[in-house]
Symmetry: D2
Subunit: 345 residues, 4 copies
Amino acid sequence: MTLRIGVIGTGAIGRDHIRRITCNLSGAEIVAVTDVNADAAALAIESYGLSGAKIYPDDLSLIAAPEVDAILVASWGPAHQQSVLAGIAAGKYVFCEKPLATTAAGCREIVEAEIKHGTRLVQVGFMRRYDSGYIQLKEAVESGFIGEPLMIRCAHRNPSSADLYTTDMAVTDTFIHEIDVLHWLVNDDYVSARVAFPKKTRNALPHLRDPQVITLETRGGILITTEIFVNCKYGYDIQCEIIGEEGIVRLPEVAGITYRKDAQLGMNLLMDWKDRFIDSYDRELQDFIDCINQNRTLQGPTSWDGYVAAVTADACVRAQESGQEEAIELDEKPEFYGGIALRSV
Amino acid sequence: MTLRIGVIGTGAIGRDHIRRITCNLSGAEIVAVTDVNADAAALAIESYGLSGAKIYPDDLSLIAAPEVDAILVASWGPAHQQSVLAGIAAGKYVFCEKPLATTAAGCREIVEAEIKHGTRLVQVGFMRRYDSGYIQLKEAVESGFIGEPLMIRCAHRNPSSADLYTTDMAVTDTFIHEIDVLHWLVNDDYVSARVAFPKKTRNALPHLRDPQVITLETRGGILITTEIFVNCKYGYDIQCEIIGEEGIVRLPEVAGITYRKDAQLGMNLLMDWKDRFIDSYDRELQDFIDCINQNRTLQGPTSWDGYVAAVTADACVRAQESGQEEAIELDEKPEFYGGIALRSV
Amino acid sequence: MTLRIGVIGTGAIGRDHIRRITCNLSGAEIVAVTDVNADAAALAIESYGLSGAKIYPDDLSLIAAPEVDAILVASWGPAHQQSVLAGIAAGKYVFCEKPLATTAAGCREIVEAEIKHGTRLVQVGFMRRYDSGYIQLKEAVESGFIGEPLMIRCAHRNPSSADLYTTDMAVTDTFIHEIDVLHWLVNDDYVSARVAFPKKTRNALPHLRDPQVITLETRGGILITTEIFVNCKYGYDIQCEIIGEEGIVRLPEVAGITYRKDAQLGMNLLMDWKDRFIDSYDRELQDFIDCINQNRTLQGPTSWDGYVAAVTADACVRAQESGQEEAIELDEKPEFYGGIALRSV
Amino acid sequence: MTLRIGVIGTGAIGRDHIRRITCNLSGAEIVAVTDVNADAAALAIESYGLSGAKIYPDDLSLIAAPEVDAILVASWGPAHQQSVLAGIAAGKYVFCEKPLATTAAGCREIVEAEIKHGTRLVQVGFMRRYDSGYIQLKEAVESGFIGEPLMIRCAHRNPSSADLYTTDMAVTDTFIHEIDVLHWLVNDDYVSARVAFPKKTRNALPHLRDPQVITLETRGGILITTEIFVNCKYGYDIQCEIIGEEGIVRLPEVAGITYRKDAQLGMNLLMDWKDRFIDSYDRELQDFIDCINQNRTLQGPTSWDGYVAAVTADACVRAQESGQEEAIELDEKPEFYGGIALRSV
């Protein structure tokens, strides 16, 4: 069986997914595309030789098309909510890039619609859950290898940030990935957020406070500290270390050859974020395709996870501004999404 | 375009390739299978739901089938040569698992047939050239980062060997992968082989001499030492280090999470060889498919590389028996395969 | 020249220093000892064959003895202040184990006495400044290799704590070493402290809050986060990482042989804190001896550093109780101790 | 007790030992020096303020001096034998820098003299046995942690060699340290040597064959391969890895801080050999002093070890010239030196 996918938004991310589905993955094909810029849509079709794909004028018409089994939402953030809701209304599968919606209320609306529909249709594009390192960390937690997790220490560093990157984007564009993957890792809910600003690097533009240190606490008492440093200069570097009662586990370095030269023992670090989770992008989408083709329930990040991310990000942005601890108040998790499975308090 | 592949041999490796092509890769489908055991062929079709694939009674009828664009040879070694030659005669693309043929003369015959055909049709399944670590090593050599290579130190270790594994198989089944990847790494030809036998491990069966240390020398004078140790107990471990005039590069460890527990700082090693090059198996076959679908010349290991492997392995087996240095005498490399590109002598 | 040392306190630490001076170091000898337990003093003399050493009834008589050039204070904490002040009054050199005094006021009194004396007489036993790793970190900061330091991440972990160990001792006995070495590393003063309590490990006794996360901020804005975890079970582990504008430096693991065995690549971690800084204990004391014997100014931790440690520890203990940020208010650093050399604010 | 040492030879190594004994170590003092260059001897005394040390005109008069308890032989190699024999004849302890004598016969003569004397008097300055890493390797072998050793892989690399350094010096000056430490590590005797010459680096002078690969085999069948590369450019690097039946152990890298900067994760390597075993030089001499002062039998490298080194080095130099395997024929080990304690054949 071949899953027929319609792509909404043919910017950089949309085109990358088109390439992936067409050239790398198995079991799916692109049958429809749309973009606010019609030329961009046409160019995407041409670039990847998608002779069988049709261009639609907008998301709603694409979603309505009978040949479309599933949609991939890669438009700009504010447009996501409408597409996702329309997809659910049409009973079609939806792979939605982050954010699921730009507000917590918007995410909640999607959650309700999906519950009302009665089966899972939506997967949010948080790819880290498909990274081999994070999967190993989760296994180490769930097997009891490190005992109960007590603390998590993370770092999310980029060599440099774009001029338009603002202080709140450190939460909504950058930390959002930690928000998603960390509560999944320890199967717990966040209850509070706090943000501290160390001495600012001179390598950041005047309007940007960089680095930041964000502290989350979970219902079970786990203290999570993440350094966000988007002008660290030296590389793109993702670190995560879980400190448990019996031991510690840590993400590996990205495997690279080691060298001995010029009085140094070293290895190269990545400079480009696109290289870091390149396999995870493939795996999240292959999993989405396989689950549908094999009539299995979607197992990737859910609408509820999108909602958790939105509520948590809101609290972090408030904490940036207030300098205080801000509460993270989530609704009760619906049975539909697996119910509550919290760590012991 | 979808490449239509016929699979010859549906044992473990053949089935794994069928799964790969069907579930992981893009641009190809299985349209035909054959096996000396007809039930095995039927089972393979059923296991992967290949409703469109036809079972043929033997390799020749499969190769003759008009719907077959390319064949994948995964039968037992002694049968390879006939299938490959028939494939070339039919002008079909051939992906052949090692060995290309069981004798150097057989390989040479394939080389002649392919040259006579006039374009490259054959890729041999030496997957290490598609491993990210080896690719980085090759870049380090070719960019001049370590200067001229002078020595290579390798280890090829398995936790344990099967009862039927014999001393010569350390060359023909195990070291054969180093034989292929090392001359590619340094773009040089082997001229001699020598084998030393250290103290034998008590963990090997009486008939097996294990470990062994194989030394190859290249035309350019590079000294290559490889430890083959197939009952090392602790893991499946592939090491390769190139010592150059200006520095050294080394394969990375397989990335795994690190732990701190019970007074140890550690990480898991692989126990199963199948996990080590899992990505490379995908990449070698995707590359084969892409080159054909995009009308590009095959760029994987050639028939000539299969011939080099056979000649070199023969010399190593002779060296096991003689205890002496044995010459490796290769014919001159045909222009068809890129001609001679040796390191300076 | 041989420095004649009188030791005040022959408990575990005192005896260890006696052994060190007698068996490992050069240029000094033990000529006098005293202990509140006279038998312990006699035993120490006997254990190390110090036939020439005399037992004194108390610290003051030992300090007054004409054959004593320098005293080593290794009694229990509350007794330190009197011995140090008496030593200064007698114009004798003083090597004082931490704490210099149990109160900031007591430390301040020592500082005043030393300034009044006019030359440096006192070195406090903060040995980490003599550790090769910390020295390399300091060089990396001072050479500009990582640019301006922005953040420091530390961990101080013990396998288990004694029954009598209390929550505040995580500051006064454990974190005190980070307090000393970190302001020295970045040449800056602390201005505030905050303490957070993650989920408690079940491996700690009921009365002890463990782990703790202590955050210090410096005048220059550097944010320092230290995890104190004294029942981590897995080992004695000291980590320190400085994140600067241009790069990051980190303490090395303690060098140990690596092994490959049982599907693990690993190395042993220390379990006993006494092994971690064993060389530093030798070096701090040899440096004290050499400076005196060579008529050079003492260069180890000063009375002022002892005062800084006391004021900072007080604030951290307050922060443990208040749950709030607590100010660290230091007097202006006297010219006598090198004056103010702060990082740019 | 203070051991009174007379130093024969005040060149670089002799002066370094004088500094060590005077400034670093405990329990010994320099009471006499001699050098073929009387000014050098006087300068050494002056440099280290050895007001109590007397200058003697030659080794024999120094050895005869009643105030001399032990001699330290640091003259040039050809003079060692006479001094050591005179020391033994006078019943004095002898710490002799390598070589014990320049010929195997000379070493044998010393062995006979010491046996005749009846107690151990001589320690040879092979310091690696005092290196923490090698000691851990030996423990791993002796505890059975890696099972029976089967192979050893070593590398001994220097950034560059002096103009006067010749091909045979790769054995007599460089590999000599591996010769000593490796048979001690596995408690076995060498039986043969072979030398291979890989492609030569252009960074070596025309007269020097560099790198070299020396293979030793032991009576028990252990195969030891050592790369000697004295113009490797990148650093001073000592590697040793023991491959056993149950696992592998390897020397650690020299501990240094790690950095993340400029897209690199790295650490500094040593460039100067003097830094690599700096602690071992202290320990070997402190052990010599302590054994004598405490009336314990010397436990460092013996005269017999000096003899083993000489016989083995001779075979390696022959192997450099012959290109063949050369036998290493040792006399039977006298009971005096612990008798034969070979690995099972």
